[in-house]
């Protein structure tokens, strides 16, 4: 199962590096054999297992041992996480195209792709300054120590 995750991860990283393209190709061969109901005999899955558990056991032998023993379960978890994050990403991309926001219509929540919502001073917005603080940046808020008078001077009311 780890080949599926590896194909996606290395496929994306392969856009930027030939090294990962080679790994992605190896992962693809393994995935192809698996989906055509043949055992993955390229050794790629074993290589990945050794790489992951080896690296983990250098940090924590205990954790390395647990992951080694339950590598199939670990692989499934990784597959599910990867699939879920792919679905969520696809949804976000759709929202951006349609609503120009990751989170769908009428949402003011932060969007990592557009950067929307990150520069606004939520702490200030929640308190009653008596004017619209949506133009104020975090830096300005810190500079003013969240003081409404100071903010009004710097970024002004609209």
């Amino acid at each position: 199962m780890i080949c599926f995750v590896a194909l996606i991860v290395f496929g994306i990283m392969g856009v930027f590096s030939a090294y990962y393209r080679r790994l992605a190709k190896e992962a693809f061969e393994c995935v192809f054999r698996t989906v055509t109901l043949r055992p993955c005999d390229t050794g790629f899955d074993k290589k990945m297992k050794a790489k992951i558990t080896g690296k983990l056991s250098k940090k924590s032998p205990k954790l390395g041992r647990v992951v080694y023993k339950h590598f199939a379960v670990f692989s499934w978890i990784m597959v599910v996480i990867t699939l879920v994050s792919m679905v969520l990403s696809a949804q976000a991309v759709y929202n951006i195209i349609v609503y120009n926001n990751c989170n769908g219509p009428n949402s003011n929540e932060a969007c990592v792709i557009t950067g929307q919502g990150f520069n606004q001073v939520e702490e200030v917005k929640t308190c009653d300054c008596g004017f619209d603080t949506s133009n104020c940046t975090q830096e300005q808020a810190v500079e003013c120590n969240y003081d409404c008078n100071c903010l009004e001077e710097i970024c002004g009311a609209h």
Partner: protein, 391 residues
């Protein structure tokens, strides 16, 4: 003199895969570079200064190898690509016919199995396998008869490092009128092999396992036998003269060395032989025994099962082992990952033996002259980590 200093790779990693490929000393690398930088040319045919230098260097390499195995004449040394090609050369050049018997053991590398299986299909020769379990000599004698034309055996097994009693084997075969070929890919690099004392008819060796470059090998054959053999690859450099209807072959060894040769490799091999002679087989064997002792103890202490005899002195520089219920490739991959310890895993081109024994392979650590106690310590320490991880 610290041998490791001549091997840059051995200083970076713990290299224990010498049964597959030996590392190369700087002397060999420099000799090859010298050929490419100073006298790249053809041997034997170009009479300019560079050509003559190559001819001389190739002749020196042939002479060096002749001395190494104590052959009578340099003409008895044929340069090939590797042991596999040497064995194939004999298999395809001997005039074998239907019903002729070829004997090999049950522990042969594919290179000394497939040529005979192919000839069984193509020419109808009979290929008989002798078991190495129990009394090998008795097993062999049982199979010998006047139809046996050749006994072709691995001198030292790449699977477990054991060496056959070659002298006895050759005597028995000769008593029955059969020729003997030794696959010496794992013996010539590690121990003294005297072809005259053994009275062996053919011997195959690989350069890449004895500090030489890849793509180099040797076939030794008794002069009178090589003269009788029909070359199976012919072309440039194998003939003195041709007309549209006829040809006149070169004498040995040239008649077997068709086409432009791997001069850089051959010259590098000559340098490798020189290096081996400088160190000496006694020292090499002492180093390997010491390293193998340490590796064997580590494997046994950690619950590993050794393939072949437990006594390390009977296994050259090789320790082949399994750890119950653990994939052999995982062990090798983790040794690499956790300690940069390079070993080989799998069936080591002896699939037939593993299949017959219901095993899926082994981990093979193989030492050579550049390994030392530090390597043994690292191997033991890393193997312990691996066993703890996978147990």
């Amino acid at each position: 003199m610290h041998i490791k200093e001549d091997f840059p790779v051995a200083q970076k990693v713990v290299y224990l895969d010498s049964a597959c490929m030996s590392l190369k000393p700087l002397q060999v690398v420099n000799k090859i570079r010298e050929y490419y930088e100073e006298y790249t040319a053809c041997a034997g045919r170009s009479h300019h200064k560079l050509g003559e230098r190559v001819t001389r260097e190739v002749a020196n390499a042939r002479k060096s190898f002749q001395d190494l195995i104590s052959a009578r004449k340099p003409e008895e040394i044929v340069f090939t690509k590797n042991s596999t090609e040497s064995i194939n050369l004999v298999a395809n050049s001997l005039s074998l016919k239907q019903g002729d018997i070829i004997i090999t053991s049950d522990k042969e590398h594919n290179s000394n199995l497939l040529p005979w299986q192919f000839l069984s299909r193509k020419k109808g020769i009979k290929h008989i396998i002798v078991s190495t379990e129990g009394d090998f000599i008795a097993n062999l004698e049982e199979k010998m008869n006047e139809n046996v034309k050749l006994v072709s055996l691995a001198h030292t097994s790449n699977l477990d490092g054991t060496t056959i009693p070659a002298k006895e084997v050759i005597e028995i075969a000769h008593e029955h009128g059969a020729l003997v070929m030794l696959d010496a890919a794992q013996s010539v690099p590690h121990k003294e092999v005297n072809v005259r004392r053994l009275d062996v008819d053919f011997l195959a060796a690989s350069g890449h396992k004895m500090l030489g470059p890849t793509g180099t090998g040797v076939l030794y054959g008794k002069e009178e036998l090589l003269e009788q053999l029909e070359p199976f690859i012919v072309g440039g450099d194998t003939v003195k003269n041709t007309t549209y209807e006829s040809y006149e072959m070169m004498p040995i060894p040239e008649k077997f060395e068709a086409g432009l040769q791997n001069y850089a490799g051959i010259i590098g091999l000559g340098e490798a032989v020189k290096y081996l002679k400088k160190i000496g087989y006694k020292k090499i064997q002492a180093i390997e025994a010491k390293v193998n002792k340490g590796m064997t103890e580590a494997v046994i202490d950690l619950g590993g099962e050794i393939i072949g005899p437990v006594d390390y002195e009977k296994r050259s520089g090789i320790v082949s082992f399994i750890i119950k219920n653990t994939d052999v490739h995982q062990i090798a991959l983790l040794l690499n990952e956790l300690g940069r310890v390079m070993v080989r895993s799998g069936m080591h081109c002896v699939h037939s033996w593993f299949n017959a024994h219901g095993l899926r392979g082994s981990v093979r650590a193989s030492a050579y002259l550049y390994n030392d106690e530090e390597d043994v310590e690292k191997f033991a320490e890393t193997l312990e980590k691996v066993v703890k991880l996978v147990a």
